[in-house]
């Protein structure tokens, strides 16, 4: 949660860094799948990262 929210907060500070870490989050997500409710919640948090 801290990691995801840190990347979300980073978007308004430096979008290129946020984008770099968003890709890392996606790689981690594919390698370490979470339980569906947790995954859905985290995906909800990151929604702003993919919208401009």
């Amino acid at each position: 949660m801290i990691l995801v929210q840190s990347v979300v907060a980073m978007k308004e500070v430096d979008s290129s860094i946020a984008s770099e870490y968003r890709q890392r989050l996606e790689r981690i997500r594919s390698q370490y799948p979470l339980q569906p409710p947790v995954d859905r919640a985290l995906m909800g948090m990151t929604a702003s990262l993919t919208s401009d």
Partner: protein, 560 residues
């Protein structure tokens, strides 16, 4: 990926995993397991095999790669570099004649090549035939006058035999060869050492014109490094920035440019290069870039502090945090952590102070030090504990310098009861109780002092302290706060509630990285305020720390 700067004598090899995290592998494990497996995996891929063997050769493992180098040579027979690699491996294991035979065979079949000739000269030299070595070296230079090792070696021979001026004369002879640009870098260095800047600049101009675009990275490293080390920073930047590409020239050139900008107090320009290099996503750059990020941040803070003269009143506001920053008040994520409705007296928590070795007697605007970071993280953690374990409304108050030079306020004495009570009664706080948190970091073990003060009358209802051993593997975060929580519940008449099942705080040695990450998130959050971006130092560090947290908490290493 393994770095090539891990030399024999060091006990480990540095590698980076797919997420860019640095890991050290024992040299024996590297040699006995990792290297043979990597060779097997890349047996039919000449490009990958070459890179791996060149790295192993650089690490001093020539005896382990003879067969693989021979195989590569057969696989890639027309390649000069594979021939050189095989020849050098043979030379290093003492098979001088075989090394010479391999290289001569290449030259006979494929014609002259500067690198093969240079390495053949080295083989002759290793075999004791100095005359043949020298003759072959000159052949190498005549064929390709831009092989650095050949120029350096030839110059060194001349210098040793005939003195420094003979070396320069040799370089001048080489400069007269067609398309000879690299030696001009050596002539420029000689000019700089003789304080002849204009001569040096003329050599650089010629070298760059002859070398063409894109300019090789080592050329820019040489130019910017030599000009910089002789104090010609602006000249180094003029040439360097005109040709620099973060992707092509990387850290070696970027490092020189950052340093030159930094030394000229051009922090924004230094930061731009830093950002461009970070964006390359190279884990092997990270430690150097982090170093510069911290240095630039320190220099910026020092510059800001110059503006905060004692005669200038410092405008301070209280940033109020009323729920864990990592838990947004939005669906569906807040459903993961159900908490009761907030009820009862408002509790404010005020920290941001620590006493530590080397403190100064004032409030300072400073870089993130460990005591400073923990002085902010501990109140956030306490507030989070109260948020999940009680129904009390809790506000963490973070003193923040506003105006032109924004940043955290970091006090080095605990807040007084009277001041805390005054803060608690402010209209935007409206707290009935305020908990003062102060970190004692002067001596080991560190400790945290708590004072629970009623805003009405500034009366202290509880005073306590908890020991904080940062390296204690058995550290229990809940024990740290339990006495204070009991006192608070008793003072307010509130009841404890069960925390949400998913709520868990890493214990033991993982607790401190956790606290740092919580504080890091607040720093990111505050940097979003208008004009506050500059307050953020090393933003990547914050996220990298959070990224490493799960593995720290599990007390295991991430997969390599």
């Amino acid at each position: 990926m393994a770095t090539s700067d891990d030399k024999p004598g060091r006990s480990s090899i540095r590698v980076y995993d797919e997420y860019g995290r640095e890991r050290l592998i024992d040299r024996k494990v590297w040699r006995d397991r990792v290297l043979p497996q990597a060779i097997r995996e890349n047996w039919h891929n000449a490009e990958a095999l070459y890179s791996m063997l060149a790295e192993a050769l650089g690490d001093g493992y020539e005896a382990d790669i003879v067969k693989a180098a021979e195989h590569l040579h057969k696989l890639d027979r027309k390649s000069a570099r594979s021939t050189c690699l095989y020849g050098v491996v043979l030379m290093r294991v003492g098979r001088i004649e075989d090394a010479a035979r391999v290289m001569r065979a290449y030259l006979a079949t494929n014609g002259e090549d500067g690198y093969v000739l240079l390495n053949l000269a080295k083989v002759y030299s290793a075999g004791g035939d100095k005359a043949k070595a020298r003759e072959t070296l000159w052949r190498a230079i005549e064929f390709d006058p831009n092989v650095d090792n050949a120029l350096q070696w030839y110059g060194a021979i001349e210098r040793e035999e005939r003195g420094p001026s003979a070396q320069v004369r040799a370089w001048q002879r080489i400069a007269a060869l067609p398309n000879s640009w690299r030696v001009r870098l050596l002539l420029a260095r000689d000019a700089l050492e003789g304080a002849r800047l204009q001569d040096a600049l003329a050599f650089y101009e010629e070298a760059l014109r002859l070398a063409g675009d894109p300019v090789p990275a080592d050329v820019l490293v040489s130019i910017t490094g030599d000009l910089g080390s002789h104090g010609y920073l602006q000249e180094a930047l003029t040439i360097g920035t005109a040709h620099f590409s973060a992707k092509r020239h990387g850290l070696t050139v970027g490092n020189n440019l950052i340093k030159a900008h930094f030394d000229l107090n051009q922090f924004d320009a230094a930061q731009n290069i830093l950002d461009a290099l970070y964006a390359q996503g190279r884990p092997d750059y990270k430690s150097t870039l982090d170093y510069w990020a911290a240095e630039i941040a320190k220099a910026r803070v020092a510059k800001k502090s110059e503006r905060l003269t004692p005669a200038t009143p410092i405008p301070v506001s209280m940033v109020s945090v009323s729920r864990p920053l990592w838990l947004p008040d939005t669906l569906p994520v807040n459903l993961l952590f159900p908490t009761p409705a907030r009820t009862g007296p408002v509790i404010a928590i005020l920290g941001s102070t620590a006493s530590f070795q080397g403190e100064s007697p004032t409030i300072v605007l400073g870089l993130a030090t460990v005591p400073g970071t923990l002085s902010r993280a501990l109140p956030l953690f306490l507030a989070q504990e109260l948020f999940f374990r009680t129904s009390l409304p809790v506000k963490t108050l973070v003193p923040w310098v506003t105006g032109e030079s924004q940043g955290y306020v970091f006090g080095q004495r605990p807040w007084t009861d009277d001041y805390a009570a005054e803060v608690a009664t402010r209209a935007d706080v409206c707290a009935e109780w305020i908990l003062i948190v102060h970190l004692n970091a002067k001596n080991e073990p560190w400790s945290v002092d708590f004072r629970l003060v009623r805003s009405l009358g500034a009366a202290c209802a509880y005073e306590g302290s908890a020991t904080l051993r940062r390296d204690d593997p058995a550290l229990s975060p809940q024990e740290l706060t339990s006495a204070m929580q009991s006192a608070l519940l008793s003072a307010t008449g509130a009841k404890a509630v069960l925390p949400p099942p998913l709520y868990d705080v890493p214990a033991g040695k993982a607790f401190f990285p956790y606290l740092m990450s919580v504080e890091g998130l607040m720093s990111l959050d505050l940097a979003r305020k208008p004009g506050a971006t500059e307050t953020l130092h090393s933003p990547r560090d914050i996220i990298d720390r959070a990224l490493a947290l799960p593995w720290t908490a599990l007390q295991t290493s991430p997969p390599v």
